[in-house]
């Protein structure tokens, strides 16, 4: 057991998988000599060489398209987008090609690519270094979308993603990189894609969340615990496919659901979770399925007062929990 941060967890997962399986290659901008702008690939060029750690041209359609091609010819590419904000020009390769490959070949041709991207707000990145992009892929069958919150989950899920036979969008919340530390076992382990986890059991109300917000929600849960509100925090971990069983099971128990997500309110993962709960366990609900999310603005503004206003935080979550608990 060692205590590491999310950055290290991602790094170690990459390093271990590359050592384990020589078919694993990395493609991305500045991932070689520089070790990545966040240093998630530090030392990997030295260890595995230029043929497997590829500093690509500044070209996201090529990064993703080359990865798709390489995956069809026996490799297990991990494609890095420097920031999730810059993957929009790869959306065609991801949605038209990677996501549909197995389907269009009647199951014959897989496309085992991992598309990694640091995402999320709260780091003064302004509109183009803060975005939540998960909503884009939620409605795309053929993809899996993974959003770990802790070092343990990040490492175990990234290893699972690399071994997955289908394309995985692996989203790393930038702000968790250094902020979030946690224990990680020494040997090889996997966390299964598609399984949520109850990060805190509770009786009165379920908070469904993922990514950085998991930590804020846990904090909020502790705060309201003192007021006698016992909150269960479900960390989705994977937002596609959604672990309906765990989510519905929890809300069935608590009868109330608050969905907390950093993405802007409309159209994000929270809408899908809310729709599922509202349809499938309608009778079990003792209050409206409530969403707490960022406002519907195109992205985080830079200046601190605006950024703080736009970004979710623990106090906002506490308020939402209290309101729903009081319903």
């Amino acid at each position: 057991m060692a205590e590491i941060n999310v950055l290290q967890a991602v790094h170690d997962a990459l390093e271990e998988e590359m050592a384990r399986d020589e078919r694993v290659i990395l493609l991305g901008e500045d991932i070689g000599v520089m070790g990545g702008v966040f240093h998630t690939t530090d030392g990997l060029l030295e260890k595995f060489g230029e043929a497997r750690v590829i500093d690509t041209p500044l070209a996201e359609a090529a990064i993703s398209g080359v990865a798709v091609g390489a995956s069809m010819n026996g490799l297990r590419p991990v494609a890095e987008f420097q920031f999730a904000d810059f993957l929009y020009s790869a959306v065609d390769q991801i949605i038209s090609e990677a996501a549909k490959m197995r389907y269009r070949t009647n199951g014959v041709q897989g496309c085992p690519v991992v598309f990694r991207a640091p995402y999320g707000g709260g780091s003064h990145g302004g509109p183009y270094h803060s975005q939540n992009v998960e909503g884009l892929f939620l409605g795309v069958p053929g993809l899996k979308v993974v959003t770990p919150a802790t070092p343990y989950d990040a490492k175990g899920l990234l290893k699972a993603a690399i071994r997955d036979e289908d394309p995985v969008i692996f989203l790393e919340h930038k702000k968790t990189y250094r902020l979030i530390k946690g224990e990680v076992p020494d040997g090889d382990y996997l966390v299964r894609i598609g399984e949520a986890e109850v990060k805190r059991p509770g009786k009165h109300l379920t908070v469904v969340t993922y990514g950085l917000m998991v930590h804020y929600c846990l904090e909020a849960a502790e705060i309201v615990a003192g007021e006698g509100i016992d909150v269960e925090v479900v960390d989705l971990r994977t937002i596609k496919p959604l672990d309906e069983e765990t989510v519905l099971g929890s809300v069935k128990k608590t009868s109330k659901a608050l969905i907390v997500y950093e993405d802007n309110l409309t159209g994000g993962a929270g809408a899908e979770v809310a729709a599922l709960i509202g349809q499938h366990i309608f009778e079990d609900l003792d209050g409206p399925v409530t969403r707490l999310a960022s406002p519907d603005i195109p992205s985080m503004p830079f200046a601190t007062p605006m950024e703080e206003f736009a970004m979710l935080d623990t106090p906002k979550i506490v308020t939402a929990i209290r309101d729903l608990a009081a319903y």
Partner: protein, 337 residues
């Protein structure tokens, strides 16, 4: 027209091509044509809802594949490349099952519209209908071959319209930077549906673009089997020797509508079409073979009969073959455990 036998050293000899080789190419071109023609019949007869074929492109499609090592090298056809598909080894049955969207369609199991050829055994790579997305795939496939030290070459096909897409640029540039063993073949038929070359690019030859990626680009007569064969063989040799990519622009013409949804009289003149009909690559190659006394009338007729028999049989077979089950639409979204 009577055909005078040619004298001197035959051009194909320089290329090391035997009579058998040439007749194989000829046969494949005609197979491609026969299947294309059958495709239109089936579509017009309501047996399939869509058709796209390759009449006019047979020389570049077939000769390029025949210049490669089949079984070792990889092919990325686009929707027009029925000639690539059959030259790489797909049979008339394979094509007909695909045209008719049968459950046994090995390309897509009836999931994609006709024109999307795929066979991993033959190293034919699955493509979408999205123009140019296969170009970075080709670079990725070649990258994997290079990484493993395999002496395989990847051949990627696309149209003149595709050369305007960002994926073209990013895919070729990546190949250039890594000196990948890949050949990019642009079947420039002068139109992207109705959009003529001059509205597509302000250059005479798209092949000049290769210079911007640090590798050679050539323009060849895409209706000339031997010119195509020569260019591709040379590119393959370079690629296999570690010399990197080549961009080959093959000028040709589409003799049919773009697809079954198209009416080319809206944008092409009758004269232009007729001019190119006179340059039909199959007729032209047949003339060459006759001139060098490699193909006599009897053989030609026998080939025609064999092909039409094969196509008829394949049609019957495919028509009798079951359609996919409705619920099978739900399968293969992810790997099935």
């Amino acid at each position: 027209m009577t055909i005078k036998p040619s004298v001197g050293k035959a051009p194909h000899k320089d290329l090391g091509l035997s009579q058998d080789n040439l007749l194989e190419i000829y046969r494949l071109m005609r197979l491609s044509r026969a299947l294309s023609e059958r495709g239109w019949l089936l579509q017009r007869g309501g047996k399939t809802a869509f058709m796209v074929t390759g009449e006019g492109h047979e020389a570049v499609q077939v000769a390029s594949v025949c210049a490669m090592e089949r079984g070792r090298d990889t092919f990325l056809p686009y929707y027009r490349d029925i000639g690539v598909a059959v030259a790489a080894g797909m049979t008339a049955k394979d094509v007909l099952l695909h045209f008719l969207g049968r459950a046994a369609d090995g390309s897509t199991g009836g999931r994609q519209i006709p024109g999307h050829y795929f066979d991993p055994q033959l190293k034919i790579v699955s493509g979408s209908s999205v123009v140019a997305t296969q170009i970075p795939h080709a670079s990725g496939i070649a990258l994997a071959d290079k990484l493993r030290g395999e002496k395989a070459v990847t051949v990627c096909y696309f149209g003149d319209g595709a050369a305007s897409k960002g994926d073209f640029h990013e895919g070729l540039n990546f190949a250039g930077v890594h000196r990948l063993p890949v050949i990019f073949i642009c079947e420039n038929n002068g139109y992207a549906i109705s959009v003529p070359g001059r509205k597509q690019a302000a250059v005479k030859n798209l092949s000049v673009r290769a210079r911007g990626y640090g590798f050679p680009g050539v323009t060849v007569d895409g209706n000339d089997v031997l010119a195509v064969y020569r260019a591709v063989r040379q590119a393959a040799k370079r690629a296999r020797a570690g010399g990197g990519p080549t961009f080959i622009e093959a000028k040709t013409y589409r003799l049919t509508p773009h697809t079954s949804n198209d009416d080319p009289t809206r944008y092409r003149t009758k004269e232009e079409l007729e001019q190119w009909q006179r340059r039909d690559p199959i007729e032209r190659f047949k003339r060459y073979l006759s001139e060098w006394e490699l193909l006599d009338k009897a053989t030609d007729e026998r080939i025609g009969q064999e092909l039409s028999q094969a196509v008829n049989e394949a049609t019957r077979f495919a028509e009798a073959s079951p359609l996919p089950e409705p619920e099978s639409a739900l399968r293969h979204v992810y790997l099935e455990e």
